[in-house]
Symmetry: C2
Subunit: 135 residues, 2 copies
């Protein structure tokens, strides 16, 4: 892992949110890996596996996409030629937590998985509080 | 990717759920990578980054863990020395969707990230339905 790798992964992550916010289907298509098998878990859904289904799901989402999409607090974890990013997503007034997995290909980092889920609360350093229903 | 890799990754994934169900903190600790930086996004939470915090969070969860934990429909995506698994988790009557990321180390596959989120509905092949609030 190098600072350069981290920056490149975070740039790919940012490109994903730019495509999402602008409803740019071509950019979204180019961003997802064409070589590796891909998957996507939208908020409240089970996983979708396979490029065609994943991109179909995004096509529907992008058609309806109009609001601001912001990526907050991204943290890159680079593991050789694969990396995952944890971040938060601000979609209008909604806050989501996301995991984005990327693979390094000859022309840069491409997405292989996206998992987003609604946030009920931010992590508290001291751990679960009484009454928290975690897991 | 080989069938052997897939099987080894799915076995590590299964070991994670076994540790979870039995409340086995030692197994959970051994399962998470000691070399890579790790992260965890519990249902409804933002991401926790760092081994100490992640394991602290699991310690709290395992202390309260009593019910059945089952992993359903796991799909392994092996990308060289890193792999991610999408699966569903049945926790009592609750259904969650999970992403588990593993890295291959000298003594086998170790977890570097877990993200679980509540499922409102299973993915429908034909894509988002009218009225679905996806993303």
């Amino acid at each position: 892992m190098t600072a350069t790798d981290d920056a490149a992964v975070l740039a790919a992550n940012e490109a994903f949110y730019r495509a999402f916010e602008t409803g740019d289907g071509d950019a979204m298509n180019a961003l997802w890996s064409h070589r590796a098998t891909v998957a996507c878990t939208h908020p409240g859904w089970t996983a979708i596996n396979g490029r065609t289904r994943v991109l179909e799901s995004w096509s529907g989402i992008l058609e309806g996409s109009r609001g601001r999409v912001a990526c907050l607090e991204p943290v890159a974890h680079v593991l050789g030629d694969v990396a995952f990013v944890t971040c938060n997503e601000a979609l209008g007034n909604n806050l989501l937590a996301a995991t984005n997995v990327f693979v390094r290909e000859t022309d840069g980092w491409h997405m292989v998985h996206h998992h987003a889920s609604p946030v009920a609360r931010a992590y508290v350093k001291d751990g679960p509080q009484d009454g928290d229903a975690v897991h």
